[in-house]
Subunit: 232 residues, 2 copies
DNA sequence: CCAACTCTTTGCGCAAGATCAAGTACGGTC
DNA sequence: GACCGTACTTGATCTTGCGCAAAGAGTTGG
């Protein structure tokens, strides 16, 4: 594989505290692979052969229930580590990662992880921070699902998307990958129908905009107030 | 502080891969502290001054919403590490840990963590596994809350409690710390009333038993079928 | 340009659970 | 042993959001 330009990965949290030489050495072991829109980077229950850093594009990570329902765990944005199943002590992936647009990732074989960690102890520490912050997110989501009603959950989900993958434009904050109402439903534990109704209402109030697979937040602050359940 | 008997902590996941001497050295830096039933080991948003291993007792870890609702994050059983806020990159605790019975924990100052990790890289790796498996749990819970109705969520919650803190007795599996219907409600995102109704129904079917703050599963397998939504 | 598809909207009826309102039983204390 | 507070039960009512149906609107491709 062609070697990877270091500038692409400098400053990534995973590599914090490593010397440029160490980073170079790690990069030499990585491949860079392209995933066409709609393809799966890995699948639920598949053997965890690799771990990744997303260089370009966006992924949708979801779980499938026995009766075929999907639940979106998160979206992966460029720069993030994903598929670290091996590091957290699993032998298979706990979810499916699917490219929502054409994407490129750096790929290491999972088998290299123990050696990499032994050589660069900082890797474990950095990964611990990453996994820890995902744990925070998951708990936040549990709290929201336990105590908030749909409208506020949807508001929180959109704000999180905006924060993670929002692009500021004149008219507001644009989510910079295609996302359906169904996706939002699967992030919030609501139905497609309910999400559609809520978004329609917000659109007519000028809070958000966006048609088919497009989502833009026009009034982030008002949406925030709504998410927190504060008076208008 | 009195020195801690090594037999109490041998075989704990946190210490996996450390030599007995290394464990001894770590123990010398720990205090063992007693927490009376009902007291808080640490509180939400408090500075994360320490991290812990529970030696004896049971803790209830919960978050508080702005409007005062509690959501139970998990229960801590003896042998588990908790309060590792610092390790996952926080300066404050993200939740409150409260002793549900008189409890004893080993306590290290958070400030010692970076040095301990530098000396024993295995610590970071082990903690990563622990945090990773909590992340799994949290995601499982999100999936359950998104796709299952209350009855099945309650069944899953009880099964998880039984697995983690169940004591097998002749008549079934006894949860070996006091737990209220309110607690179960706060674990499942249901109301006290709904939980009470469901448990009453199960009790009359002989599925579970237990009165005030007592919970015992008499038919684990039937409860499992119910949790998975399988026919009788 | 039309066909086929996917995504989205909207209306209507219904059910799972929440909320409210009494109560009852259990344990601990003086 | 009487009292008190906390946990639990049970019933009646109300609301949120789901399920389903049907149709509208972009998108892609022949």
């Amino acid at each position: 594989m062609a070697s990877v330009d270091r500038s692409l990965v400098e400053g990534l949290p995973l590599f914090a505290g490593l010397t440029p030489e160490q980073v170079d050495r790690m990069l030499q072991e990585a491949q860079s692979i392209r995933y066409a829109k709609g393809t799966n980077v890995f699948q639920h229950d598949e053997e965890a052969h690799s771990f990744f850093i997303l260089l370009h594009g966006h992924l949708r990570v979801f779980k499938l229930t026995p009766d075929g329902q999907q639940v979106v765990v998160r979206f992966v944005a460029p720069g993030e580590v994903f598929g670290v199943a091996m590091a957290i002590g699993r032998t298979t992936y706990p979810a499916t990662a699917q490219a929502v647009v054409d994407s490129i990732a750096l790929v290491w074989p999972s088998a290299a992880w123990p050696r990499l960690v032994a050589t660069h102890p900082g890797l474990a520490v950095n990964t611990l921070q990453t996994v820890g912050s995902r744990l925070q997110d998951a708990h936040t989501r549990v709290v929201e699902m336990s105590t908030e009603q749909v409208e506020r959950r949807i508001a929180h989900a959109l704000l999180r998307l905006a924060k993670q993958s929002g692009r500021k434009v004149e008219a507001g904050v644009q989510i910079d990958f295609p996302i359906t109402r169904q996706d939002v439903a699967e992030m919030t534990g609501a139905t497609l129908f309910t999400v559609s109704r809520v978004l329609s209402a917000w659109e007519s109030q000028g809070l958000v905009a966006g048609g088919r697979q497009r989502m833009m937040i026009r009034e982030p602050h008002k949406l925030f107030l709504l998410a927190e359940g504060l008076p208008d």
